[in-house]
Structure formats: structure tokens, C-alpha cells
Subunit: 131 residues, 4 copies
């Protein structure tokens, strides 16, 4: 399932060059992933009840176009790959003109909360990733 | 040339899980790159005087270990590749126990300030990258 | 004129205690003031064309209730006082239950962009403050 | 006891005007208060063991001078008042030239962790505030 989140670039999110800072894009994408988990019925509490947590292990992000204060951005997030314990979400950030501003592949691993070691993806999460 | 920067993790840099948030690592690495440019004698002003600016186009970051409030971190930054208009810096983040917490490859492109299009790496920057 | 801005608390805006950090409230209030200036037809560019800029000199903020991830907040901003060169905006932050979470009085001074010294409030701004 | 903390202004802490944003000063002051608690032997864990927590209820901050990237700042924090359940810390921020950039009075209340209601300041904290 692809999930979208709409946001507006705020004044404190731009840097001395007048555009959104590199690090801020990762926050935007994190907000997009939270939305994906929520709409997939897999909030932090639901996963915790299954004894697992997801941990980001790699982000590969391309910066394609500057974003500026007041820009209305749309974050699109969808799963593209699921292994035994890890999975990949593809995320894209578009501005109000429909231009691609950034895209990222985010790899996460499912871990057992108690032992802090990798754990097979639980069925509910696998269904969401493959659904 | 490899350049190091020492920092301390502050209270407002940790998230609800008690560790440094994914996006914050990119800020740390940006601080490390600023230090690399400064120690290489290539501050923003120096590059501007040459009519160029560097723009980050890709970051590929691996998250390896959690960082916590009060951790004393060392950021190491060094060039690993220089093409005609783009170059790659390798960056690593170590904690006070010498453990690798994150590493990233950051690809930047040199652009002409006026035309905003890619521009060959100026000699001063090339020397720093290959020195 | 009172201006309102609606926002949603995002995951990277909460701290280790699970609520919005003290400093973040000031960002929220800054976003609210930007909205007040915009809706008053007094964007940064408009004021610059008049040769002035506004600089915040004092913020007095009361923290009344915790805000949490996902909270839908409303920021209300309105002028309460205008002197010769300085003025005060009153701002309030409410949650989705209508509870007051924070309020602040923000005092700004109008300065001449060139000389960086205080400057009488220009008529367009005074009209907005007293309107 | 007055406690000082030295920091350096980093690139991601400045805004479009090239100076440190208003909200960031509150983060700096929070870092300064953390240092005051730590050096007073009153870390979060110590207070928790006493069943209490401190909550900020008011900050009154004066912005006096701009701070810029690379500035070496010193944050000074000292108690100025202690009531039955609340207390006030005075904080000042100086730059490398010894100029006062900002000062704030921060009022906090001691609360009982379990009931979340105000609680008399425990003796260890009172000693630190009055010592």
C-alpha cells in the first residue's frame, strides 16, 4: 500500500541558503513512514504488543530539487522489498508543482524488543509489506 | 586529508527512545563536512569567490549503533573519490568507546553560482580532495 | 486581527519524555507569527521594500499542558500593544480538546535594515497591529 | 552554584538570516540547565529515585545580540530563587567577545512522578538551589 502525507515547509526548517536543510528531509521521510505504519494499523504500540520493534539500518537518499518556505509537499511511502528480518520502504517527496524533490530507500530490520537481536518479520507486518 | 570533529550529544538531540534520531546523524555529518572544508581552507566564502558552490546530491548512511545523551562522539571525514564535477566524502561517527555508530558516503556536485548548473571542480578543491 | 494556524505534532518533535520539547513551542509560535504577517500582507519581502525588518527582543512563555505526537494544535496570534518602535503579539497554543497548552507574549522591535538601529513602526504594519 | 557550559554554533543551527534562530537559544539554555543538574549531582535518575521530576512552567528570555556559525558561546546557569515547590534559574549566554547575547529566567516546578501534582522541593535539590 502506498501512503501519502501532505506537509507545509515552515520557517524554522530552512537554512541560511533559504532552502530546506539536508537533514530535515530525513525528518520529513520519518513523518511519512509514521503515517505508513499508522495507516497500515501497525503503530508502535501494536508492534510492541507483538514483541518487536523496527530499527532503521540504512537510508540512501537522492536530493533532486530545493524546497522552500511555504512549499506544499507530498510524501509518498510504499514497501518495495521484504526479506526474512529486513524490509525496504521507497519514499518520494514532491512539491506543489508535482516535481520530485527527493527520493529515498529506507532499510529497516525487525528486532526482538527483549533480546535486541534481529527477529523474523511478524505476519501482520509482512501482510502490510506484501499487500 | 582526514579531518575530525569532536561533539557531545545534547538533551534536545535524543528522541522518545532515548537515542539520537536518524535525521540528527545527518546534521552531525554536515558539521563534520563544514570542519573538513574549513580545515582545507575552502570555506563557503572562498568557494563563492571562485564562483562555485557545492550541493549534496546523495547520502548513503548506515546506522550501526545507538548514541545517547552525553556520549562523546568523533566525526571523521575524508575524500574518497573525485570526478569531473562531483566528489565523494566518506564520513564515520565513533563513540567514546571507539565503536563505529554510523558511516556515510556523501556525494556532492560543484555548481556555478550564477547559472546553477554543474561546473568542473576548481583546482583548489581538487587539490584538497586528492591531497 | 487574530490569525490561526493548524499543525500536527510530528514524531521528530517529541523528546525522551514523549512530549513536545520546550524549545519546539517557540518554533510553533514562530510559524504562527509568520502566518500572521502573511495574512496581514506583511511578508518579509513587503517589509524589506519598506526598508525595515522586525527583530524579536523578548519572549515570555507559559507552559501549561504537554503536547504529544499526533496532537492537532491550533496556534492563535494577535497584536496586543504597539509603541513607537516596538510591539507585542499575544500567542496561544490549543490542543484538539480545546485545552490551552501554552501562551506567550512576544515583543519585537522594528529596525532599519541598513543601519540596524530601531526605526518607527511603518504605517502598513501599524495599521495591521491596530486594525 | 553557577555552572558554565561551552558550545560552538553549528551550521544547522542558523536560519535564513545567518544567525541562530530564537527557538535554538532555548535548546542552548536547556543544555546549560542539564549541565547545572549534572554538576549539582541531581541528574534525572537521582531525582527520579526521590520520586520527583522538575517541569518548566515559564521562560522569560531577552534576545540581545545575534549569534553566528562558528561562534564560541558560554552558557552560565545559577539559581536565584526557591519557593516551596517552584524555583528559578537565571541563565546567560555570552559570545567569545564576552558580549551578552541572551539571558533568561526559567521557572520550574517540582512534581510527584506518580501523581503528576506539585511536590515540595526535596532537600537535595533545595541545598543545591540555596548552596
Amino acid at each position: 500500500m502506498e501512503v501519502t502525507l501532505d506537509i507545509v515547509v515552515r520557517s524554522t526548517e530552512i537554512d541560511v541558503n533559504g532552502h530546506v536543510n539536508n537533514a530535515k528531509y530525513l525528518e520529513y521521510f520519518e513523518w511519512g513512514r509514521e503515517e505508513w505504519y499508522d495507516q497500515s494499523g501497525l503503530s508502535y504500540d501494536v508492534l510492541s504488543a507483538l514483541g518487536v520493534q523496527t530499527v532503521t539500518v540504512n537510508i540512501n537518499i537522492n536530493y533532486r530539487k530545493e524546497c522552500r518556505q511555504g512549499d506544499r509537499l507530498t510524501i509518498r511511502s510504499r514497501p518495495v522489498k521484504a526479506g526474512r528480518t529486513s524490509f525496504v520502504l521507497q519514499q518520494e517527496l514532491y512539491n506543489q508543482a508535482g516535481e520530485l524533490c527527493a527520493d529515498a530507500q529506507v532499510t529497516s530490520v525487525t528486532i526482538d524488543i527483549a533480546s535486541r537481536t534481529s527477529h523474523p518479520i511478524p505476519e501482520a507486518l509482512r501482510n502490510a509489506l506484501e499487500g
